[in-house]
Symmetry: C2
Subunit: 167 residues, 2 copies
């Protein structure tokens, strides 16, 4: 998948240093993902690489990694036709449509793998750019969980459950 | 906690045979929990006993185990102030208010352990008795996930996200 010089491919082991450099500041900030802000590199690898079914990276013309996303079933067997993804774009690559590309790519991957829907479990309501972007990609706010996210700067804030039927 | 001769205490290892006998037919039916209907005893033990923070059993005057529930954080660190519970009542004990007692008990336990809210992620919409019971206990349907549960008899059905602020 390519657009504006950005491509997407599956994660490979040698990508870890670049991926960790991208996801670390986002986890450290504690504003969008529920992982511990002081998460260790090993725990982050487990969460982003090992536990998901597959992880992808977005890269530019010079092969520099610009973003990453994971894809996994959201529930066990009888709920495993609904997948879950998480996306992170490198700070220096924001505003280039990388998140949008990854979201579109993930939907194609999900359908190819037999998933019938995609669910985001905890979209922090203060992360308005993400909420708008997922809406643009056809996701609906199914509901809002009051004070379900402990934002590192703002304290307890609401988070949305977002969902899209893919087939 | 006691009411109508039913009490609740923490699960102990020697309870496993009784607990498995209660949860097995519910998992096998594939109508309310997402676990594989052919889940192995070991996988069930992992899901119901090992992974949760704590599991409880409800028992009658003769010490017979009538029901069980687990309690665990629903998300990692920045979402870990919201807990998740699952409840199952023995077939022969239905209609005695055991689920209601366990729901009330779990809310007390959750508050005592510092949780601020409780979330049910996938309440199968066709399980109307459960939906009504959780509503009676103050849970709200935050939203409904279309076709998110593959019901063993009915195929793809909707499921609710239910939530209650505890503090």
């Amino acid at each position: 998948m390519e657009s504006s010089g950005v491509s997407i491919r599956p994660y490979q082991e040698q990508d870890w240093a670049s991926v960790w450099a991208i996801i670390r500041p986002v986890f450290r900030a504690g504003e969008t993902y529920a992982y511990a802000p002081d998460i260790s590199e090993q725990e982050a690898n487990s969460a982003w690489i090992e536990k998901p079914q597959i992880t992808f990276v977005a890269y530019g013309g010079d092969s520099e990694i610009l973003g990453t996303y994971y894809l996994k079933p959201n529930q066990p067997t009888l709920g495993a036709h609904v997948c879950n993804c998480g996306y992170i774009v490198a700070e220096q690559a924001r505003g280039r449509g990388v998140a949008s590309m990854m979201c579109a790519h993930s939907q194609g991957e999900a359908v190819a793998r037999g998933y019938r829907a995609m669910q985001y479990n905890l979209v922090v309501a203060t992360n308005e750019i993400a909420v708008q972007l997922w809406k643009k990609h056809g996701f609906e706010i199914i509901g809002t969980l009051p004070k379900s996210f402990r934002h590192a700067r703002l304290g307890y804030v609401d988070a949305h459950v977002m969902y899209k039927l893919l087939v």
